[in-house]
Symmetry: C2
Subunit: 221 residues, 2 copies
């Protein structure tokens, strides 16, 4: 019998169908691809207007599409979308951000346990919150992808008009403006602009797929 | 732009790989099998000691096993297990039970959207909480399974020793003793004892699998 905060008398139930059996069925390995970065951190420069806005969500979707084309099952947990459901009622204070990320981490862990390649796409600005999610999984199953784009570029693009609102003081606690973003120290994958040009969504997805392929996530031995 | 409780400036991101594509990949249809009933509500009578204790969790696992043997991907969300992770910190007050069930419902919805047959196993004693989870999905994708076992049988078996503690006043708010259980009014599946004998875990799972088969969840057209 365990004692867990307010939850007492709660037993742990082991199930006869485990992660390895689900992975075998899917011929892949469950893991979490955690995409972190500033809002609009995949923004393309204005002089290439024909490329769609490509931020964390765009990479998440593009990656999901690439994996699907290879017959692999993935699922995107989008930080913004979850605020309409599971995380409804949470705001943007440090405590609420932490709880928001903790819940996404817990759900991502369940999806990885279910055998899926779970793609979590959240600003997740604080290192300790991301590290807490990493600690929920075995290290190798948490793949942190840092969208390393300069604030100036994100702000220049400002696809959602949020930076403008934040600069005008109409949004408080906006990451990069009046709330810090702490870059990862040891992420598995870093995506960067080159000479002011962002990689295309397809190229970014390819970078992640190559990593997953190399590490053996796309097959089950 | 939407306004959601404390969450403002949150956009909804549509992903190019949708539920139908995942369902096609898996050759099944995502749904939620929600198992509700008293603690130990699948308890077998004492005069058949060779049959394992078989409650909600046992049905969940047995069902998961049966589906796996048919090549179908399912995942069990066990109410007790989630209290170690996602729902850590929630207790057993009416508010906390409601929030506990709401979060499980939201996660179950995500799993169904991912294309899985999500098996949720929780006492979930209040009708309004279960109905709120049903309302998160389209009606046909929420399959409520009522483990309709008499309190006397659950208490007689008392596999976890919890009824004894509750009767002694050492656990407060225990469903069936000093907290109500509201049986479903229109559940999809009801599992009952016959002449004091519970169906075996295999028989119970078979009842649910037949339902899923009949309703077309085990294939994708």
């Amino acid at each position: 019998m365990s004692s867990l905060g307010n939850s007492t008398n709660i037993f742990w139930h082991e199930c006869p169908v485990g992660k390895s059996e689900r992975q075998k069925l899917l011929n892949q390995k469950g893991c979490v691809v955690w995409i972190t970065g500033l809002s609009g951190s995949g923004a393309v420069p204005l002089h290439i207007p024909f490329i769609n806005f490509s931020g964390k969500s765009t990479l998440a979707c593009s990656l999901s599409r690439e994996l699907h084309s290879k017959g692999k099952l993935s699922y995107v947990l989008d930080g913004d979308n979850l605020r309409h459901g599971l995380n409804k009622g949470l705001g943007f204070s440090a405590e609420d951000r932490t709880e928001n990320i903790r819940r996404v981490g817990e759900v991502a862990k369940l999806f990885a346990d279910a055998g899926l390649i779970c793609i979590a796409s959240l600003i997740s600005p604080y290192r300790k919150d991301r590290d807490a999610c990493r600690a929920m999984l075995t290290d190798a199953n948490f793949i942190e992808v840092f969208m390393n784009m300069p604030l100036s570029l994100c702000e220049l693009r400002d696809a959602k008009g949020l930076y403008k609102l934040a600069r005008a003081g109409k949004i408080k606690g906006f990451t990069g403006i009046d709330d810090p973003y702490e870059p990862p120290l040891n992420c598995e994958i870093e995506i960067q602009e080159k000479n002011g040009v962002c990689p295309s969504p397809f190229a970014m997805a390819g970078q992640v797929v190559s990593y997953l392929e190399d590490k053996g996530f796309l097959h089950y031995q």
